[in-house]
Symmetry: D2
Subunit: 371 residues, 4 copies
């Protein structure tokens, strides 16, 4: 990759800042890519855009996201706005010949996600999704362990994802409680669960789901109460080829802050992972002397690429934001035409297909085939 | 209770020995009951019966379990034989006017469990089941915390039960792989899960289940392979009144030795419990300064009755066998006509009703009402 | 062992009850020893003695401990009274030709411990100490792992023992705060630490210690305050042959309930143990693929003798009281002239020698040789 | 701070890269400081310097560190070279009127550290040390908890620091085994332990230490063996005002990767911290219902400043490198004349004074006063 990429960033919230940090860090961390040119930052409001551009190190700013699409010097666009904006922005950018790095999920409506994927296929450009959890060196180790047969053939899967930002019933009704925002935990968290299963090699074939609401209604600003339309809790039974599994999701789970708990049981061992301690993984292998068998806790270190690009010493710990730096490096790899560890719009569409199938199964009380 | 009870024990396997230890320990531990008279031990084979009687401290022995029923001096019969024998033995003992302490589950066939319960109701005697996990002081604490509203109203439940005694695919076909033994993990483990939910105050209303087989067939003694008829893995979605939950069961889960993992989420906090560390429970309460909130790990101690009957110092740890001693004390309480913390045949029947409903839902792929 | 042993028990407090439970359980649990005859229970006060004898299953009772020594039918005497009584009782019992099972530590004064050991040597009888922690199947596994070289040559040792029964500064002055009770944590806890090191094969050669008092004085019953004379905290640096180590002791450590934390580092791995989770041990071995190395958590099970005598299933957990049952079986082995895993008065004397050396080092601020 | 600072970086190893990442990230993360100008990167060898400058985003490069001191446009110099170079570089930079951000420890020889501090005092410039662990929001929480009396008055302290990069006895002799590199674990790790105690408010008054060598000699390149001159293990007893404590250090501790284990016991509770899980802390407070007391595990989140500058969601986890970003922000604060949470050369000198006192106590076998 001889020439530095010129980058535009749309959005400066949680994920916008995360992208900005990644664009700043990718060259110092990896040392094998030209330092990207942070060309343009777009945010609603020109003044805010200018302030953020200065902080984030972008050369110029705009209050209109369309400038990122229109500017001829931009190679790649980071899209970090709310999901509802993704389709229009991503399609416009792809049609303008830009590579796109879009936060997940793709879109509230499946048809929009399909249009996004169609645009990506038509463009021939890289259209990557921001599934940063899959970039964790420990998740890569898990995929490698599975591939190498460390636990034999998988026989049972469980994924849980729980946080507590909706757990306070006294908190008022907000947009995430309206049906327009989606299903609730199912899409909010489900896409993460399916993305992890996907990179670990598991493709769901059928689903039945149950969704529940911890709180039937919530206070509004005017003193009345409004019925909650989304479900903070979703539980899915899943059939895979030759095995079964579950995905359990709860965004009203007091005390859980960023838990993604994965249990994979196989014919020769088991793997257990907890995102709240994402620099570790538990591995059990049914070999060696029986009185010494046990789950071993493996701490991330330089032997787990690309941890070594960040820190030469083991056990010191990567942070959540650094997973985005790894993702950024993979994006650059994809743009350079190299094999990359990324979920693109095509893979993302399969993830969202599963989510929508689960929602239908909740409605019907029946098993629903996926895809 | 002025007069010591006279006890017969049928069976001397895992649970038989556990009962014997409990009958020996209940008076020294609790100090408030007359020491039971260990009158008669029955085991298949008179010689074995005599040897075990000497070890276990029983006064006399018999190779025929019917002697326990026929002997006029026997007040209570411990039944610890394989499940298939429970109906005949329990019904005979109850009809002979004995109190019965029977290991769980009641019977492979639901109709037999119904007959057992009918006999119990007709007898007016105590008919208790050996759900010893519920006797754990920590489980009692959990029930008390729920009752006191420590985590508010429950909004979501998860129970997992996992062991690995079926995980080795090279192990030969045994009776637990035959359909005559039951469904597999669903009844083997499911009754434990439902029993815990029951004592914690949660009654399931509907279920849908998925059962899978890690191994399609297993080696037999003659060099051929036989199809496995039971399912080592079962996953259940459950509806309770006003909330949902899951029960996940796996007896082929490498590395899990005695795991029963319970997560209860509520409107004001959460409770998490792991049977592999059953002298502990995790409690999260959403109160106090926000920067100090976290799951607290409560270690069992004398403040958690009846731990103090065993050990005056906290954190020293009860053992699995000691839960049976507590159960024995509760049995004596029930026989004395006092309120007792026990699951009787009537409660046990509800547990088995739920298990059979789950099995039907697996067959039909539909939600099935319980009860 | 053809003939059942006839047992007398002196004392019925925490440890007295623990001995009684062990004497009741040893035959049912192990099944390879004649059931001991529980002949005589001695406790201060004839009435209390009679009540306890009934609960504990002893045939007769006495208000005078000397009856245990005088009775010609007694083979073995359990001594579970406060430490200050040990010398007189143990020496009398040994001189009367009884085997002695005495709780630790031997005596407050080293000279008394020496006298006890001299009496034991002169008697030719078994004189065993109640170091029950060393009976844990997991501790035996640790000893075996060390012996087999699982972690190579040991290079560094750390033992911590912490509880919080002295942590409340508002609690009044009691006898454990008076110098007559001993040094404080140093002897109260230190003997446990040294006993574990001993069975793991480590003999201390020199020590320097620091003792401190969390509370300078405490309230007395009459409204005044009295200076605390013992030290709730003790920290020891130790030299062993070819390696160093530490013992850290605190009985005012809020939140620690029964923690004994052992870390053993070696040339090929490490072992970590926590008594608050005493059915587990952590083992790290520096072998195999480097990206899979980690501390493994081994759960106690039937592959760790004599766990299988209690429970045929792994991961179900022994309790603190059951360690005493194992100790009782070892005592019977010793009495039968078989090799036994026990610390006798001779070994106990070495442990107490180390404790007193540590106390002198605290006084002098100098390293003190042990033994 | 109106004007961006102009920065020179000397060194591009582990810590050099870490500084570079911090200089790149500090403005995007905090959003309240002008983006520093990365002006000059110095590394041995002009070609390497130029390559790293391009990666790290520095405008120009030099093969001679003196250019960083001589360049009139430089405001602050990051010094990340081996310790032996610190004195010359730091003193030169300070004398040239630059602010200095120097990695710890200050220097192998105490006299050099004294000279560095004298230069800092004379210069009136900021002279900060790279004690990044103290920047952890969780460490700040611990300091706040102590300050607010959450655990009452501290009564006992324990700090352990363990890694295993020296644990392999087959690894050859390297410069860290030569006496010229210092004492071994004592200075390598001890400075971290003392720095943490310092920011938590604990100042050591006297020390006695024991140092040991897991390996007496190691292979050299020429097939011979050379005696190891440094000690991989060091154990320190410490007196503070009114309480005692320990620091235990081991860089040959197989399985420990980045463990810094801190236990602080107080009159009203305890705090426990493990650097291998540095987004968590354990807090025990002896209040509320006794049956609910336990160590609570607090996960870092936006309520623990400045975590919220990195991630708006709790439990997602900061990484080791991000602690340096926080330190960088504190440095900027100090340069702006604002109160800053930093250890400067003066504080660093006290830390090194304690280390050298410990070394002397090991030599003499006596307690040594500190300071």
């Amino acid at each position: 990759m001889a020439k530095p990429l010129r980058v535009a960033l749309i959005g400066t919230g949680f994920m916008g800042k995360c992208h900005a940090l990644a664009w700043n860090a990718v060259a110092p961390v990896f040392g094998d890519v030209p330092r990207p040119e942070l060309a343009l930052l777009c945010e609603a409001g020109a003044e805010l855009a200018a302030a953020r551009a200065a902080e984030f190190g972008f050369a110029r700013a705009s209050g209109d996201w369309r400038d990122a699409v229109a500017a001829p010097d931009i190679d790649v666009v980071s899209i970090t706005t709310p999901n509802a904006f993704h389709p229009e922005m991503a399609i416009a950018a792809l049609e303008a010949g830009k590579h796109v790095w879009c936060e997940k999920p793709m879109a509230p409506a499946f048809a929009d996600a399909e249009r996004m994927n169609a645009a990506a296929q038509a463009s021939g450009k890289v259209a990557a999704l921001g599934y940063n959890y899959i970039q964790n060196p420990i998740i890569r180790l898990m995929a490698r362990l599975l591939g190498e047969g460390a636990i034999g053939r998988a026989t049972h899967l469980r994924v849980e994802m729980d946080e507590d930002f909706m757990a306070d019933g006294a908190a008022p009704f907000d947009w995430k409680h309206a049906a327009t925002s989606g299903y609730g935990a199912l899409d909010d968290f489900g896409v993460h669960a399916f993305s992890l299963l996907r990179v670990l090699g598991f493709e769901p074939r059928a689903v039945t789901a149950l969704m529940t609401k911890p709180y039937a209604d919530r206070a509004t600003g005017d003193g009345s109460r409004r019925a909650v339309e989304t479900h903070d809790v979703a539980s899915l039974l899943l059939r895979f080829d030759g095995l079964g599994g579950t995905i359990l999701l709860n965004r009203s789970a007091w005390g859980r802050k960023g838990r993604i708990f994965v249990q994979i049981f196989g014919t020769a061992g088991s793997i257990v992972y907890d995102q709240e301690r994402f620099n570790e993984v538990q591995l059990y292998t049914a070999d060696g002397p029986r009185d010494r068998q046990g789950f071993r806790s493996i701490l991330a270190g330089p032997v787990h690429p690309p941890y070594e690009k960040f820190i030469p010493a083991p056990g010191h710990g990567l942070g959540f934001n650094e997973l985005k730096v790894i993702e950024c490096r993979e994006l650059l790899r994809a743009i350079a035409g190299e094999p990359a560890h990324l979920l693109d719009f095509s893979a993302g569409l399969e993830i969202e297909r599963a989510v929508h199938a689960a929602a239908r199964s909740h409605e019907s009380g029946q098993w629903v085939d996926i895809g």
